[in-house]
């Protein structure tokens, strides 16, 4: 963060009064992190002149820094109101909004500071970081350029301008900038600058290539070869450009060079084939090629494996080669033999051949080898049976293996997986535990065991298990806090899903009890039991919500964390990686785990919303009925709790240390988060949900889950036109996935139609418009024949 006062004072301010003097003094103290002293000065000034805007703004920042966060924004807003063109006020406001991660506002005020004549160059740089953070590339170009003009002596500033142009889509300008500084700096490079030089050159060439001038890119690459340190990148780019230019023979030379460097990279083999155009030639020719390569690189896997991919199962060579390939691995006791072969399993004929080979080997030849070969072979067979979903046989094989060598951890992992597929999560988890106890320092099975415990809804035991590998603070009950610090999202998401299953089980119990209650009206025990179940439902729902929210927060942090790279990467001279990082950050919410989170959260939120609607309707009904009778009335759904039993409170207080995610967690059970949602005005929940889903669909519109959430939100809100649009977006996703008339889409169309029919408040003109649009979008749809429609939308 830029210092507010610059060392070289350009035209020191003429101090006109005591307050200004105090303000500059306080600024100095602020820069020196002497926050308390600064606040004293500012307060004194404000006593004399409560309208001193700069002092007010500084007070806001100081309040924030000193932990008084709730009283930070008000003085700043007041200051802005009084003197919106004071660059000190602007600067402080910008800094404040940066501190609270509100980058839009930060950018706005920092820009104002620059525009209002702040002599501070640091603010320009800060503005650039903030603009990058909010991806305002158009303005970023201006800002980076401005800063370059102030400090043209650093290469980093030139690179930054180039990156800004690049991200703004102007490759030409980016290239020109890079070329300019390269020409200027060439004569003055030290040995230490060589790597930066190399990276900048590669970046420049990449830009040329990306703008479609492949030939020019290749020329430049060859011209600059001597300056390029990253030889791998050099060769990969060269090969790619040659292929793009259809100069395949030269490309093949490059790929042979790359193979020499790393003969284990299967990609190089494939690209070599592309450049030799051998893939379209008879298999005999390809075999010859790979046999030759195998003789060059006898220790590498790809030249042996790739032929198994392209040889047809019927080819006489296939059987002998696959036999040699897999038996040599089994005999050497490769745990991963099956995994290595799995790519061949998509081909049924190959699958059958492989099985026959292993089965025959297992039945006839095992005695010739040492006992470990037997156990790995049985292990392979069990994996085979699991793959083809013959769970009985799989279990039989893995039991034989365990009987043979009961001390091999891998066997228990596989057996647990088989049992899991049979649907018995409890037993699966017990078996995983049995394996884990063989070697407590095996981190892999520890994680597996944790996951399986969570699948069996044993959350506390799971956290205890993984806590063997977390940092344990003194007197911490478990490692949960550390798991949050380490952002172990997979544990959090599995925990959240476990909590959801637990509360759903309680809901089922409640329903069973309510069914019973019909017959035994007013039984006291049942009432108490019900109350306890309700309490449990709320508790586990809250916990699920809390774990999900923790992951959402982690993703916010992932996004915020890039901030430091806006200064670090240009300085280190790594623009290629920096650009890649930016692009990656633009899509982080499409990570599968985040999709699971929004799916889980939407489940909870829709439920709360339905509950609210139910409650609302029940209240209406009650109001109407109250006129008739004043007898006791039971409302539908969950009722508000009476004061919870003291026992329950006690039980919960014992649980606190086990579930809190930071020390002195204010809301260890997420019950506040839950009741906030529950007591929210109806629409608000849907807004939160919509925003979560939109974040993901904006980053990648080709994902299914976000659209499903969006559809349901709009249906709940009665926004049918928007719902239809979302259904069409979902249709695009499903079509891309190969199901043009997807059942899922069909069902949503019917649901939309049904919602319109049920809606008593809908404007009939709108209803007609939407109905027409449905038919326009889905011509097969007719109102009276939903089954016929689904018969078409059936994929």
């Amino acid at each position: 963060m830029s210092k507010l006062i610059q060392k070289k004072k350009v035209g020191a301010p003429i101090l006109t009064n005591k307050e200004d003097e105090n303000f500059y003094e306080a600024l100095k103290l602020y820069d020196q992190l002497q926050h308390k002293k600064a606040l004293k000065l500012v307060t004194a000034s404000l006593k004399k002149n409560s309208n001193h805007a700069a002092c007010l703004a500084l007070k806001g920042c100081l309040n924030y820094q000193l932990g008084n966060k709730s009283e930070a924004e008000a003085p700043i807003l007041k200051a802005i109101g009084k003197e919106p063109r004071n660059h000190y006020v602007n600067h402080l406001a910008g800094m404040y909004y940066k501190l609270i991660d509100n980058y839009e506002e930060a950018a706005k005020w920092m820009k104002a500071a620059v525009d209002n004549g702040s002599p501070n160059t640091g603010i320009i740089r800060d503005l650039a970081y903030v603009q990058t953070q909010i991806r305002d590339y158009k303005n970023l170009v201006v800002t980076r350029q401005q800063f370059l003009e102030k400090q043209p002596g650093y290469r980093a500033n030139w690179t930054s301008v180039a990156v800004a142009h690049h991200m703004n889509g102007d490759h030409q300008q980016a290239y020109t900038t890079l070329q300019k500084i390269e020409d200027i700096i060439r004569e003055h490079l030290n040995e230490g600058d060589r790597y930066e030089q190399s990276e900048c050159i590669l970046y420049k060439i990449q830009l040329i290539g990306e703008s479609g001038l492949v030939e020019k890119a290749l020329d430049q690459l060859e011209k600059d070869e001597r300056e390029i340190k990253d030889k791998l990148a050099f060769l990969e780019m060269k090969g790619r450009y040659l292929l793009m230019l259809n100069r395949k023979k030269e490309a093949s030379v490059v790929y042979r060079q790359l193979l020499k460097r790393n003969p284990d990279n299967v990609q190089f083999y494939i690209l070599l084939e592309t450049s030799l155009e051998s893939a379209s030639k008879p298999v005999e020719i390809r075999l010859k090629l790979f046999d030759k390569l195998a003789s060059f690189y006898p220790k590498s896997d790809p030249p042996k494996f790739v032929p198994l991919l392209f040889l047809p199962a019927s080819h006489p060579e296939f059987k002998s080669r696959v036999r040699e390939y897999l038996l040599s691995q089994l005999k050497r006791g490769f745990p991963a033999t099956f995994v290595n072969l799995k790519p061949l399993y998509k081909n049924l004929a190959k699958r059958a051949i492989i099985f026959d080979i292993v089965n025959e080997f297992h039945n006839l030849e095992l005695s010739q080898f040492d006992p470990t070969v037997a156990v790995w072979t049985k292990f392979f067979l069990a994996q085979h049976y699991l793959y083809v979903n013959d769970l009985e046989k799989a279990e039989e094989s893995i039991n034989e293996a365990i009987e043979h060598t009961p001390t091999l951890v891998e066997l228990y992992i596989l057996k647990a997986r088989i049992i899991k597929h049979k649907g018995d999560y409890e037993l699966a988890s017990a078996i995983m535990e049995e394996g884990r106890e063989l070697d407590l320092q095996d981190r892999f099975i520890n994680s597996k065991s944790t996951k399986y415990l969570l699948r069996a809804n044993k959350v506390d035991q799971a956290i205890d298990t993984i806590s063997l590998f977390t940092k344990l603070d003194k007197d911490a009950a478990n490692g949960l806090k550390d798991l949050h610090v380490m952002q172990a999202n997979w544990v959090l998401v599995e925990s959240a899903e476990a909590y959801v299953r637990i509360y759903k089980n309680y809901v089922k119990q409640l329903q069973a009890l309510e069914a019973k209650d019909e017959h035994e009206e007013g039984d006291k025990n049942i009432e108490e039991e019900k109350e306890e179940i309700l309490e449990n439902i709320d508790m586990y729902m809250g916990l699920a919500l809390k774990r999900y929210n923790a992951i959402v927060k982690n993703f916010k942090i992932f996004f915020q964390d890039q901030y430091d790279f806006h200064s670090y990467c240009p300085r280190r001279g790594t623009p290629r990686d920096y650009v890649e990082t930016l692009k990656w950050e633009d899509k982080i919410h499409t990570t599968p785990i985040y999709i699971r989170v929004i799916k889980g959260l939407s489940g909870i939120m829709f439920e709360i919303y339905d509950d609210q609607v139910r409650k609302h309707n029940a209240q209406l009904k009650e109001l109407l009925e109250e006129e008739d009778t004043k007898s006791k009335k039971k409302s539908n759904g969950k009722k508000k709790l009476k004061s919870p039993k003291s026992q329950l409170i006690k039980k919960k207080s014992k649980l606190v240390p086990l579930v809190e995610l930071e020390k002195d967690d204010q809301d260890p059970f997420g019950s506040k988060a839950l009741s906030d949602l529950q007591n929210n005005a109806n629409g608000k929940i849907m807004d939160i949900l919509l925003e979560l889903a939109k974040t993901v669909s904006d980053e990648d519109p080709m994902l299914k889950t976000p659209w499903e959430i969006v559809i349901n939100v709009y249906l709940n809100e009665g926004k049918y036109v928007l719902a239809l649009q979302a259904i069409r977006s979902l249709e695009k996703v499903m079509t891309r996935r190969g199901s043009a008339k997807s059942r899922l889409v069909g069902e949503y169309v019917l649901k939309l139609d049904e919602s319109i029919n049920k809606d008593t408040q809908i404007n009939s003109a709108i209803a007609q418009v939407v109905s027409k649009s449905i038919i326009a979008a889905f011509p097969e749809f007719t109102k009276d024949a939903p089954d016929a429609f689904l018969a078409i939308y059936c994929q």
């Binding site: 006791g333 040492d370 006992p371 470990t372 060598t405 001390t407």
Partner: protein, 173 residues
């Protein structure tokens, strides 16, 4: 080729492995406390590995041949009368997983036992073998042990083995 057999120490982390080897290859049951005590510093234990897989284990202790060990439960007790100076090493448990026998793993562990015996300045290794366990008895005899004339009556009685008598076997080192 590298020797496929190797030995390694017992730690709190692989105690479960040691237990698994014993429970799946021996007919007798060792109590939980016995395994727990295996981690004490004064214990003489080694695990045997074949091609990186743990497949065998041996646990020894020093005793005096004057100790009156008349049943399995006494034999594996942690505290034998310590006033009597030890003059032998006693094999409390010795197991190799069935498919891994006759590969030389047991011999390696016996070498380990002999070395440990010498380090303790005693000159005898002794053990009890169930009378029906011909495989074990043959193995011990082949490796230089000798069995006493008399059979120890009912040594394995509480373990519920049929024919619960035991041979006492010894080897001078």
């Amino acid at each position: 080729m590298r020797d496929p057999i190797s030995l390694d120490d017992l730690t709190s982390n692989n105690l479960g492995t040691f237990k698994k080897i014993n429970t799946s290859s021996l007919p007798v049951k060792y109590p939980e406390s016995w395994y727990k005590d295996s981690l004490n510093k004064d214990q003489i234990i080694s695990l045997g590995y074949y091609r990186e897989l743990p497949v065998a284990g041996i646990k020894l202790k020093t005793i005096s041949t004057q100790h009156n060990i008349n049943c399995f439960e006494t034999g594996i007790q942690q505290q034998l009368n310590s006033k009597i100076l030890p003059n032998a090493v006693y094999i409390e448990s010795f197991a190799v997983l069935k498919p891994y026998r006759h590969l030389g793993i047991g011999s390696k562990l016996l070498d380990f036992a002999i070395e440990k015996t010498k380090q303790h300045f005693v000159h005898e290794i002794t053990a009890h073998v169930h009378v029906d366990n011909h495989e074990a008895l043959d193995w011990y005899l082949k490796h230089g042990f000798q069995k006493d004339e008399n059979v120890l009556k009912d040594y394995f009685k509480q373990q519920g083995l049929p024919n619960p008598d035991a041979y006492i076997i010894r080897m001078k080192v």
